[in-house]
């Protein structure tokens, strides 16, 4: 699993979705269940990943569980790159 990819996704989440400037998140912070990214915003996060990595993530794979942390998202994206 690419560390670089994890950092890119983490930085994007911090920049785009984190409202509290003092809140610190890690690769494993719950994003969906933690209320940082809601189900509607998940669409824009999915679009970012598709654009960035030139992949297409089917809707049935873009589940709240699969998007619930940077680590899980990286596993998902990695699967489409192989």
């Amino acid at each position: 699993m690419s560390e670089e990819m994890k950092d890119i996704i983490l930085n994007y989440v911090i920049e785009e979705y984190l409202e509290d400037e003092d809140e610190e998140i890690s690769y494993d912070t719950p994003l969906i269940s933690g209320g940082i990214v809601d189900s509607f915003s998940m669409v824009s996060l999915k679009r970012f990943l598709e654009n960035k990595y030139n992949i297409s993530i089917p809707d049935d794979r873009a589940t709240p569980e699969a998007f619930d942390s940077v680590t899980k998202i990286t596993v998902l994206v990695d699967g489409f790159l192989k």
Binding site: E19, G34, S39, F40
Partner: protein, 568 residues
Amino acid sequence: MTNIGSYEERLKNFSWSIAEKELGYSDAKTKNIGWYCSDRICDMGKAEKTALIWEGHDGTEKHYSFNDLRLASNTIGKFLKNLGLKNEDRVCLFMDKIPELYFSFLGVLKIGAIVQPLFSAFGDESLHVRLENAETSVIITQRKHVSKVRRILEKSPYLKHIVIVDYDGKHPLREREIAFNLEETVPVEEFEIFPTKAESPSVLHYTSGTTGQPKGVKHVHYSLISQYLTTQWVLDLCDDDIYWCTADPGWVTGTSYGIIGPWSMGITQCVLDKGFSAENWYQFIEKYNITVWYSAPTAIRSLMKAGEEIVKKSNLSSLRHLASVGEPLNAEAVIWSEKVYGLPFLDTYWQTETGSIMITNFPGMPIRPGSMGKSFPGIVGTVVDTKTYEPIDSPGKIGLIAFKPGWPAMMRSYWNNEETYQSKFKNGWYIPGDRARLDGDGYFWFVGRDDDIINTAGHLVSPFEVESALLEAEQVAESAVVSKPDEINMEVVKAFVTLKPGFEPTPDTELTIMNFIRKKLSPLAMPQEIEFVKTLPKTRSGKIMRRLLHAREWGEDIGDTSTLEGEE
């Protein structure tokens, strides 16, 4: 046996005085909802009964009794009063589903002020227009949302105080900001509740309009009568129930049935401040032995998508009654829930303006899956002709849903917008703006909205508001916004956009515009798809033909295009 018993008998003998008598309304020294939901329950000998079980996203669990509720709302009330707030001032609640949100709701009402709950995911612009319209003087919020308030502060002259309930002292407070930590404040035992009357204003919820800015729907303290009785007869709550309303109090369901209805009955309710996942939700039901569950079709369809296997892993045997609100509940969802949970979700129909449930499938009544059910006793509901506004006699013919005005929870006005308020009444009927048909047995069947408003996951989004915001994106020259079908959310927002010279219709441009709207308005209003076009279809007079784009998305007949100027 259900609380409502025989629907037919209730119809024959109905009077709103049933609720007034049970609540001791005419003799009450105060007709204040804040008092009814806390002090009165304590006076009835239930001070130590659990009022709220709250669980946060990190698993933190908190329990509060009705006496805790009374003290917390007193304490917040006193704090606000000391800020100089007086009755009928507007206080905005801009928080996630944290305990302070629920306590503040009652505290604001106790001082006679008007509570303005707003969805905490709203972006800067959505927040600003609602605060300005209401001339809100205080906003109660959390650290994580305060940056949005700071960004609109300069153009919000009415906003005198920004109260932060979880200030941690890491950074200095800025202009107009005040820290208020409930747990570090001495609880106020005795508090003089403002003597609101039945018709005193209570809650101001904002809802989207088709052609203008959002409208502030003004409710009064007398709404309690409808909310109490519908909670009892439709949600069928009893003293030993553990109730879960999944709605956010930023929307009307979260206040009418997530605060007022259950607490005025002295019911224990649970709140989960956590994002959706099927596993989380089932664990929550199992952990707290939830018996009555009030949710929304979008959530139900998401649970259907998660499948039956996950249900089998959980013990959901505590559940005894399920209801749904927000959008039409499709027949498949009713049948599925009966198969999987052993209980059908019963659809309820109402809206921000009605304040309480108007049409529903009652507990114990034969359900027709896909139907909205029948009118609540005391509600005169029908379907009227779209042109004459006369009731339609023939079963099956589509018209507009209509109600005779006068039920207790009905809105009293739109804030500073009397003209739009009056436009909702036709031929002596209140017209909510939805199309339906009635069958021969008096069951309503939903057909669709009668305007361009988009209902996405049970939340109304104005295409006008999104189009206006899109025009502020540096890339966008023109825009048209419509709904498109969605398997889970029923509808989602789709935008058609023409770009200014120098911008390319790339996936990155699409994402930039999506994020712009998400931050400016809200995630709900963010187009889930943007289609770049060279021109938008317009009439010869230059008006964008949104109707045509909508018809295309829904695979409908595009109708008369004789006035069409040109399209791609």
